[in-house]
Symmetry: C2
Subunit: 270 residues, 2 copies
C-alpha cells in the first residue's frame, strides 16, 4: 500500500493531473493520494484582494497568517478546485476516486493556535484569530473503509480543531501520519523538483539515495525546507514505512518513475 503526496506547486497544474491520473490507472497497488494546493490558494487569495501575509517567527519559521476569510479561500482552493478537478480527472481515467478533506469523517484533528507572533516585513506583529494549528491525531478508519471497498481516497488539508474550526495543517505531515497509521509499504512525495537537491538552485545536484541508518551526510547537505523533508522521511522509516521517495511531479509518468527509483530514495541500509 502506497501513500502518495502531490505538492501544491504551480508546476503541477491541470496537465499534471492528467499525467498522474493516466499513470495511477496502471498501478495495481492500492494507494491513498494526499495533495496540496498552495499555488491555487495564493492565486485565489490575490484575486480576492487578500495577498498572502507571511510571518517569520523568532526561530526563523515562516508561516502564512490565515484569518477566517483566508481559511474560506483555502477551503475553496484545496477542497473545491484542486480536490474535485483531481478526482474528476482520476475518475475519467478509470480510477475509483473519492475526494475528502481531512475534516471529513474525523480523519485528522489538531490543536488550534489562534495567536501568531513574529515579524511581518521586518516589523513585530501579534496577529489574532489565526486558523492554523498542529496536527495531533490521524484516524484512518474512514480511509480504511473506503479502500477495503475498492475506492481510492484523495485527501487534502485542512484538518479540524477541537473548537470546530478548520485549521491549516501541513500536508506532508498529514501524508506521513496517514502512512504510519495505515502501515504503508512506501511513500512517494512529488513536487516540482527532481527530488532532494544538495544545491536547491541546481537540479543536477540530485541526492540519489539516503541511508536512513546513516543520515548525517544527507542532513548536513540539506538546507531549509529540505531538512524538514529529510527528517520526516527518517521518522516515517523509523515508524515502519518501508521506503520514501522524493520525485519529480512534472514528469509524464511520475508514479512509475518514482517506483523505479528515480528521485531521492530514503530507506534503511540504502
Amino acid at each position: 500500500m502506497l501513500v502518495i503526496k502531490i505538492g501544491g506547486g504551480a508546476a503541477i497544474g491541470a496537465g499534471g493531473y492528467t499525467n498522474f491520473a493516466s499513470d495511477l490507472a496502471t498501478i495495481s497497488e492500492p494507494f491513498v493520494l494526499v495533495h496540496g494546493g498552495n499555488a491555487e490558494f495564493s492565486e485565489l487569495s490575490r484575486a480576492l484582494g487578500m495577498p498572502p501575509r507571511m510571518i517569520t517567527s523568532q526561530s526563523g519559521r515562516i508561516t502564512r497568517y490565515t484569518d477566517a476569510a483566508t481559511m474560506d479561500a483555502m477551503l475553496m482552493a484545496y477542497c473545491g478546485k484542486v480536490n474535485k478537478r483531481l478526482v474528476a480527472t482520476l475518475r475519467a481515467h478509470g480510477v475509483n476516486a473519492v475526494g475528502l478533506s481531512a475534516i471529513d469523517g474525523g480523519i485528522a484533528t489538531g490543536r488550534r493556535k489562534p495567536v501568531l507572533r513574529g515579524e511581518e516585513d521586518g516589523k513585530p506583529k501579534v496577529l489574532r484569530d489565526d486558523h492554523a494549528g498542529t496536527l495531533e491525531q490521524v484516524d484512518a478508519t474512514l480511509v480504511r473503509l473506503l479502500m477495503a471497498n475498492g475506492y481510492q481516497p484523495v485527501l487534502t488539508p485542512p484538518a479540524l480543531a477541537e473548537d470546530g474550526v478548520p485549521i491549516n495543517v501541513d500536508g506532508d505531515k498529514l501524508a506521513l501520519e496517514l502512512a504510519i497509521a495505515l502501515g504503508a509499504d512506501g511513500m512517494l512525495f512529488f513536487s516540482d523538483t527532481p527530488g532532494l537537491l544538495a544545491d536547491r538552485h541546481d537540479e543536477s545536484s540530485l541526492i540519489r539515495t539516503i541511508d536512513a541508518l546513516q543520515p548525517e551526510a544527507a542532513l548536513a547537505a540539506a538546507a531549509g525546507r529540505m531538512v524538514v523533508k529529510v527528517e520526516a522521511a527518517l521518522g516515517a522509516i523509523e515508524r515502519g514505512v518501508g521506503q520514501v521517495v522524493f520525485s519529480d511531479g512534472r514528469a509524464e509518468q511520475p508514479v512509475t518513475r518514482a517506483l523505479a527509483g528515480e528521485g531521492t530514495v530514503v530507506r534503511a541500509g540504502a
Copy 2:
C-alpha cells in the same frame, strides 16, 4: 431514513449551519444531507470578475452559463466553502459528517450539453463550452456504505459527465434521485420561504398540505419554480418516498419543525 436538502439561498448562511447542526444532532433517524451553494457561488463569481450570465431558452427556462472558469468557481463555492464549513459545523455538534460532491465515488453522472442556445439580455446567443448537463444516473453504493458504518454523508453538486468534465446539475433533482435510490421514508426541502406559497410575494399564503393523489388544485395555484418543485415532490411519492415537506431553512430548529409538519406537506391522501 431521511434525505434533507438545504437550499443555497443567501438567508441560510453561517448562522443557518449552526441551527441545522444543533438540530440534526438531536435526530435519531439516519439521514443524508444535500446542499446547494448558489448565493456563495454568485458572490464568488462577482468577486472574481465573472458575474452570472443568465440565458433564457425558447421555452422560457433560465439557465446560468457555466464556462470552465465558472465551473472552477462552482467547485470552490459548493465543494470547498459551503460543503466543508457545513461539515465542520456538523462535526463540532457531534454529527459524524463526511462531505462529498456527487463527482466522488461515481455518486451522480450525467450527460453534458456543451452548447447553450437562447437569449441574453434580449439578444439571441449561442454559447459553447457550457459545463452544464442533465443528471442521468445516481449510484447510492458509496452513500449506503458510509451510512451503514455510522457516517452521515453531506452531498453537493456538481456531477460528472461521461467525458470526465464536472457538470452543473440541479441539486433538488440530485436529492430526489438519491431519495428514490435509497428508498427514503421522507424528504425535507429547506429554502428561505416558509414552504410553497400560493402567492410567492406573501409568506402568509402558505399551502399547508398537498394530496399527491389530487394535486390539480396545488399545481393550478403554483407558478414558476414552484411548479417544478411540486412536480418533483409528486414524482418522489409516486416512486416510493413516504412524504415530502417544504419548510423554512431560516428557522432555529428547522428539521424538528419540518418533521412536526410545519411547512407544506406533500403525501398521498393528505
